[in-house]
């Protein structure tokens, strides 16, 4: 009997926390379906009287969301592709090749983790101007095209590959690049997937950097677009919430399909945005 009451309390606590955590998302969805009159009723209705799915069409038409999505997708895919390439090459060299000063290089890379991004913001802005990258996709992709965390994670994966495999391949006359491409990369697919996932979601959600290095509508990604949308729609809160739903939907779908790998990846690497 006492045990059962205890269980009940545990479930109640878990459920209570779940409701608090989920409420803002419910509220965003609920508001996005209300008429403007109902959205500005006080005290607010928890569930809309009439469900206006048409708000989404209105929001979509009120700002270039298609363009914002495209830009975010280019930025995310670009960062993923470049990030996987740079991390694979560097991690392989650090894990498998006889490079003089290897440990020193690895240590120096880890040491750069203490530099907070707020410190690098202003000089990077100047660099973009000087390189002529300001307001281009290059500025949105290249500075985030390599990460110490990714190199670190992938190096761990490469270190765990059986060494005999490499020796056998070398006897067959296989070079490093080919070994990396044909064996190391395919065998480390789970780690590469985690890196791709974390990079893509982080890029999609990035705000401060694209805010300062883009100044034309045709290059702005969704998070920057959303803040502009906020000033455009002013008191049409239902449209603002519809826009917010649109902005989080792709990431949520991706996350729901990959949540196991994703959560494991976070637990392993401890990346905090």
């Amino acid at each position: 009997m006492r045990r059962r009451v205890g269980r009940l309390v545990l479930y109640a606590a878990m459920l209570g926390a779940g409701v608090v955590m989920a409420f803002p998302f419910f509220w965003m969805l609920s508001t996005s379906l209300k008429s403007q009159a109902e959205a500005t009723t006080f005290p607010p209705h928890i569930v809309p009287d009439v469900w206006l799915v048409s708000n989404y069409a209105l929001a979509w038409a009120a700002a270039p969301f298609g363009r914002y999505f495209l830009n975010s997708a280019i930025m995310a895919l670009g960062q993923v592709a470049l990030g996987l390439l740079t991390a694979s090459l560097a991690a392989y060299a650090l894990a498998r090749m006889r490079v003089p000063g290897r440990n020193l290089i690895f240590g120096a890379l880890l040491a750069t983790l203490v530099i907070p991004p707020e410190v690098t913001l202003i000089p990077n802005y100047i660099s973009m101007q000087r390189l002529g990258w300001y307001n281009t996709y290059i500025a949105l992709i290249v500075p985030f095209g390599a990460s110490v965390f990714n190199v670190f994670l992938l190096r761990q994966a490469f270190l765990q590959l059986p060494f005999e495999l490499y020796e056998a391949a070398v006897l067959e006359g296989c070079g490093h690049l080919r070994f990396l491409w044909r064996f190391a990369v395919p065998l480390s697919r789970p780690t590469l997937a985690i890196i791709a996932l974390l990079t893509a979601i982080r890029a999609w959600n990035d705000f401060q950097w694209p805010l300062i290095v883009t100044d034309s509508m045709s290059l702005r990604p969704i998070q920057v677009g959303l803040t502009i949308f906020r000033s455009d729609v002013s008191t049409n809160f239902q449209l603002l919430m519809a826009g917010s739903v649109l902005a989080v939907a792709p990431v949520l779908v991706l996350f729901l399909f990959t949540q196991r790998q994703f959560i494991q990846g976070i637990a392993r690497s401890g990346i905090r945005g």
Partner: protein, 311 residues
């Protein structure tokens, strides 16, 4: 012959390393040095006169900067211990053999993957002074409506930080990062060897005593790691505070109402982006970086000796 092969491998290795090192060097290491250089100049839109340390002299006399450091400290204290404590509690809960724990873990984690801009907009709407559901809830229990994100008056006393606005932002930050702490604590709990817990149970430890003397000490590497990462993250927090604190709005560039939400990262952004004082902002950014470094080192000194590793 052999030596030539080694040399070839070394050259090839450096080529493999080059792209990553180039990007990290150019956009992560170099700017950390260049920011110091910039901070020694008057630098509006273009580089101006050499000022020596005058930007730093100005900084220590700037009440806005000193306040931003104080507000950052208040924000760190309001977020980090709270999200760690609740995160640990939820992790202990999810560590039980309960049904639906996978679902709840997912639910707690969702805020952390969504964009801070979007959730900041939602929470701004929740805290809307006229139509917001927060005031709706208060009204239902007979508490007068609040101005929330627009309220410069203090939560505890009118003049002392945090303002109600910063307190509301603190609450949202805890909500956002809670799932991260829960997941990392949960993986730490899973890593504790079962034999140790069993042995303690056989010796008669249970409930809170088991937690206090066995689980919590063995969890200390995770706790230490989270403390470090969360403190650094909170000290340089920007997006949530910027969007909820009225960034880019008619009533100011970064950190409102009346500057009571202008933490250090927002101060830097305000001087850099809104007032185009790049040299002065660089000095502030450099000082912030040094403080982050010092706090991390201090964290390490204070806590690393208390970390217990299960052999």
């Amino acid at each position: 012959m052999r030596r030539a092969g080694r040399r070839r491998e070394a050259v090839e290795g450096y080529l493999f390393l080059a792209p990553a090192l180039l990007i990290i060097g150019a956009f992560h290491v170099w700017p950390a040095i260049y920011v110091l250089y910039m901070s020694l100049f008057r630098w509006d839109i273009l580089q101006g006169a050499f000022l020596g340390l005058r930007n730093y002299e100005r900084l220590i006399e700037d009440p806005g900067f000193l306040r931003s450091l104080l507000l950052t400290a208040v924000y760190v204290v309001g977020t980090v211990p709270v999200e760690m404590a609740i995160g640990l509690a939820l992790a202990l809960l999810l560590h039980q053999r309960l049904r639906l724990r996978g679902l709840f873990r997912l639910l707690y984690f969702i805020p952390y993957v969504t964009s801070q801009v979007a959730v900041a907009l939602v929470w701004s709407w929740v805290f809307n002074p006229t139509y917001g559901v927060a005031n709706g809830l208060l009204g239902a229990v007979g508490v007068p409506a609040q101005r929330w994100l627009l309220e410069p008056n203090g939560l505890f006393s009118p003049d002392a930080p945090p303002s109600l606005a910063l307190a509301a932002i603190t609450l949202v930050s805890v909500w956002y990062y809670l799932g991260f702490h829960t997941v990392v604590f949960l993986s730490g709990l899973t890593a504790i060897p079962n034999e140790l817990l069993e042995a303690a149970r056989i010796d008669g430890a249970a409930g809170f005593r088991l937690f206090r003397h066995i689980t919590f000490p063995l969890l200390s590497p995770t706790t230490f790691f989270l403390l470090l990462v969360a403190t650094i993250g909170a000290m340089t927090s920007f997006n949530l505070i910027y969007v909820m604190g009225g960034g880019g709005q008619a009533f100011g560039c970064a950190g409102n109402p009346l500057g009571t939400t202008q933490v250090a990262a927002l101060f830097v952004f305000d001087r850099f982006w809104c007032q185009t004082q790049l040299g002065y902002a660089s000095a502030a950014a450099f000082v912030l970086g040094l403080i982050v470094l010092a706090v991390s080192a201090l964290n390490g000194r204070l806590f690393s000796r208390r970390v217990v590793y299960a052999a």
